[in-house]
């Protein structure tokens, strides 16, 4: 029931109730929230706490899939003759709200709230985050390549709904096929004059919101400011594709493309699967684990969360499941010894936010939060670059995350 930032949904169904695919099963009165729909036909088996990829344990609706459930398939062909003029701004917004679309890149901010025109903060430019900068993940790339028309339709719909004048599609230069496909669709369809493709350098974390805006527009987003406050709208590839589905086909967000990868999985691949599928089902579908698999991660290898419960369901924001082997994780292993910080400054050199990560980490380790805050701990976006390069194998990112949690706890008191 928590698949987005904001108020969690309350179940709208009861135990043993029959549900059809697309039925609303969770909703909330709060402004910043998004509906949740059943992806399958079936019977509500239980409403109870289940493992959540990020939040520990959360309330969930468990549905027994009925035998006559037909698998939903993507319909990219329905967007062949897409015409933007068929849909009004209100219609699009309404469809996004009904479909319960959230930012599918990871944060899960409800799209209807983000897109809706706001008089206080008029939006002028939209940036499509097509970077997919984390290693391993390729689901956005496949979406752009295979459902190009659907993706572009979604981009145009969101542009119209938000009233943005220009659109930049920021894409890394390691995806030349996707760039070519998008450019072709843009040149062959109407209403594409205001959309351009910006090719960016391939680097991590290029897809971070602030990094992307900087790379595409050369504009620095002040710390603590979110893009809408300066008239920008950033949206992700999967979100655009889901919006197109919602508006044109009237379908709720119940399925998404997802990468299952890593050396620890026998048959890696990209799948279009119901949201809420358990990790173990997906892993079994891909042939199971290899013998040397040591870690299962929901999300990317840099910012994702490793999970302890294989029955953890995927959510609207789960873009990937990675099964990593001992060799792949290298020294990112709790068993590997951490040595003293040698103050080499490698973390300082790689920090995309220009911080001094090792000083923040040492402050948190000493429980000196004031010092950590003096080193601007809250400006950290937890990309993981510092831990990645650390020769002493210090879990810098982990320590900073801990520090932020301690900070939040202190502020609550």
């Amino acid at each position: 029931m928590s698949q987005h930032i904001g108020a969690p949904c309350k179940p709208t169904v009861a135990k043993r109730q029959e549900v059809k695919a697309g039925d609303v099963i969770g909703d909330s009165d709060a402004f910043v929230s998004a509906k949740i729909h059943s992806p399958v036909d079936g019977v509500v088996k239980d409403i109870a706490n289940r493992s959540h990829p990020v939040l520990g344990r959360e309330l969930a609706v468990i549905i027994d899939v009925s035998e006559d459930n037909t698998a939903k398939l993507p319909k990219p062909e329905s967007f062949e003759s897409f015409n933007l003029q068929d849909y009004s701004q209100e219609q699009i917004l309404e469809a996004i709200t009904t479909a319960g679309i959230v930012g599918m890149g990871g944060a899960g901010f409800p799209t209807n709230v983000k897109v809706a025109p706001n008089e206080k903060m008029p939006k002028h430019t939209m940036i499509v985050n097509a970077c997919e900068c984390e290693p391993y993940i390729t689901c956005d790339y496949r979406v752009m390549l295979e459902w190009t028309k659907q993706f572009i339709a979604g981009v145009k719909l969101i542009q119209k709904a938000s009233g943005c004048k220009t659109v930049h599609i920021g894409i890394e230069n390691n995806k030349p096929k996707a760039i070519a496909a998008i450019k072709e669709v843009l040149s062959s369809t109407s209403d594409s004059e205001s959309i351009d493709v910006v090719t960016l350098k391939t680097k991590y974390p290029q897809g971070g919101e602030r990094q992307l805006i900087n790379a595409v527009m050369g504009k620095v987003v002040p710390t603590g400011v979110i893009p809408p406050m300066i008239g920008l709208l950033v949206c992700n590839v999967a979100t655009a594709a889901a919006t197109a589905e919602a508006v044109v086909l009237g379908q709720a967000l119940t399925h998404r493309a997802l990468t299952v990868s890593g050396k620890g999985i026998k048959n890696p691949g990209n799948f279009y699967c119901p949201i809420g599928t358990s990790v173990s089902d997906l892993i079994d579908h891909c042939g199971g684990l290899t013998d040397d698999a040591v870690k299962v991660v929901l999300g990317g290898p840099m910012m994702g969360f490793s999970i302890a419960d294989m029955e953890t369901p995927t959510t609207k924001t789960s873009g990937s499941i990675l099964v990593l082997t001992k060799k792949e994780i290298g020294k990112a292993n709790y068993l590997a010894r951490q040595t003293n910080c040698i103050k080499c400054g490698r973390c300082v050199g790689v920090c995309p936010e220009n911080l001094i990560p090792c000083d923040i980490a040492s402050s948190v380790r000493a429980r000196d939060l004031d010092r950590a805050n003096r080193f601007n701990m809250s400006a950290c976006m937890e990309c993981g670059c510092c831990s990645y390069v650390c020769p002493a194998n210090i879990e810098i990112t982990g320590l900073i995350k801990t520090g932020k949690i301690l900070n939040a706890r202190n502020n609550r008191k």
Partner: protein, 356 residues
């Protein structure tokens, strides 16, 4: 599914294959050319000096870890590195007992009392050398020129007084000889301009540069061969073990400083290129000042640190009491490191967050 083998931990879940040991090993590899050069010029003596330092440094660190009941930290190879740098910065003929004292001091007082690698404010090797200089001043300033050098090679020093001509075929291991920098110093200290000019002219003929570049001059064990040191420096830069900031700032500031003096009084102050390649400037720029523990972390602070080291070295060389100033320059700037780091605090992209 084999669930029992899986584990969880905070991200990132992949990492760069790099460790402190690999960083240290890279620096040691980079020092190999200089080690070979030392072995060529000083033969067995070089091997004795380096081996003594390495063994005593490693044993000291191991013992201290044992005494503190902590897991042994000798695996990170930093003790080996400290030992090699210490060995490279002492006169080749230093008695073995002195070497052991210096090594023990470097590791015990220079590093371990602060809590081991990463916590020491001063470069341990330079601290050990400073201790030796304070205790055994005479031995620490008695330089030898390799005796086995080819007499055909151009020499530094007055004609007829140089090694090869004087002692050819006497089977000596080495001959005590003033270092190139000592000659430089003599010129600066000379009472009259004419005297200075004579010293410079007598001692520094056109082949001086070649001598200091290849390394058949008097000096510390590992410092004499500039070519070998440059080779090692380039290796580290290519491997990205060090960044260019400190070597460039040290060398550039020292060069500019020397050039200014040379420009105004060429009869007293030698060619800056000669300054570059003699003494410990190169080993300092590539291996000593770049010690990550004792230099600042931000690029700006590192540049200031490097400039400080370069200028201090040349200040000591030209107006100080010693012919060479690497050791003191590095130690003084080490003391400034926390201050420089504080001075060059980085502003986060987008400004300081106002949230507490």
């Amino acid at each position: 599914m084999s669930k029992d083998k899986l584990f969880v931990s905070p991200g990132p879940h992949i990492s760069k294959p790099i460790s402190t040991r690999m960083v240290m090993l890279d620096v040691i590899i980079a020092l190999l050319p200089a080690l070979l050069a030392a072995a060529y010029f000083f033969r067995l003596r070089a091997v004795i000096v380096v081996a003594t330092c390495v063994i005593s440094c490693v044993v000291t660190e191991w013992l201290i870890c044992k005494i503190r009941k902590q897991p042994s930290s000798i695996g990170d190879l930093s003790a080996v590195l400290t030992a090699i740098i210490l060995a490279f910065s002492v006169p080749p003929m230093l008695p073995v007992a002195f070497l052991i004292i210096g090594s023990v001091f470097s590791i015990a007082i220079g590093k371990m009392v602060f809590g081991g690698l990463g916590n020491n404010p001063f470069n341990p090797a330079m601290l050990g050398r400073a201790f030796l200089t304070a205790c055994f001043g005479m031995a620490m300033t008695t330089w030898t020129v390799p005796a086995n050098i080819n007499p055909e090679l151009p020499q530094i020093g007055p004609k007829g007084a140089t090694v090869a001509e004087k002692y050819q075929g006497q089977g000596l291991e080495g001959i005590t000889e003033a270092t190139p920098l000592a000659w430089t110093k003599n010129a600066i200290k000379a009472k009259t301009l004419a005297q200075a000019e004579t010293i410079i002219k007598e001692n520094f003929n056109n082949s001086q540069l070649k001598a200091v570049l290849i390394g058949y001059t008097g000096g510390c064990l590992g410092e004499t061969s500039s070519l070998a040191l440059i080779l090692g420096g380039i290796y580290m830069l290519l491997r990205r073990t060090i960044t260019w900031v400190i070597p460039v700032s040290v060398l550039a500031s020292a060069f500019i400083f020397a050039e200014i003096f040379h420009f105004f009084k060429p009869e007293v102050y030698v060619n800056p290129l000669f300054q570059m390649f003699s003494g410990g400037l190169l080993i300092c720029a590539f291996f000593i000042a770049t010690d990550p523990v004792t230099n600042p972390m931000t690029t700006k602070a590192q540049a200031l640190f490097g400039i400080g080291v370069g200028v201090l070295i040349m200040l000591i060389r030209t107006v100080g009491a010693y012919p060479e100033g690497v050791m003191y320059a590095v130690l003084v700037m080490n003391a400034f490191t926390p201050l420089l780091d504080r001075l060059c605090k980085k502003t986060p992209i987008g400004g300081v967050p106002n949230a507490a």
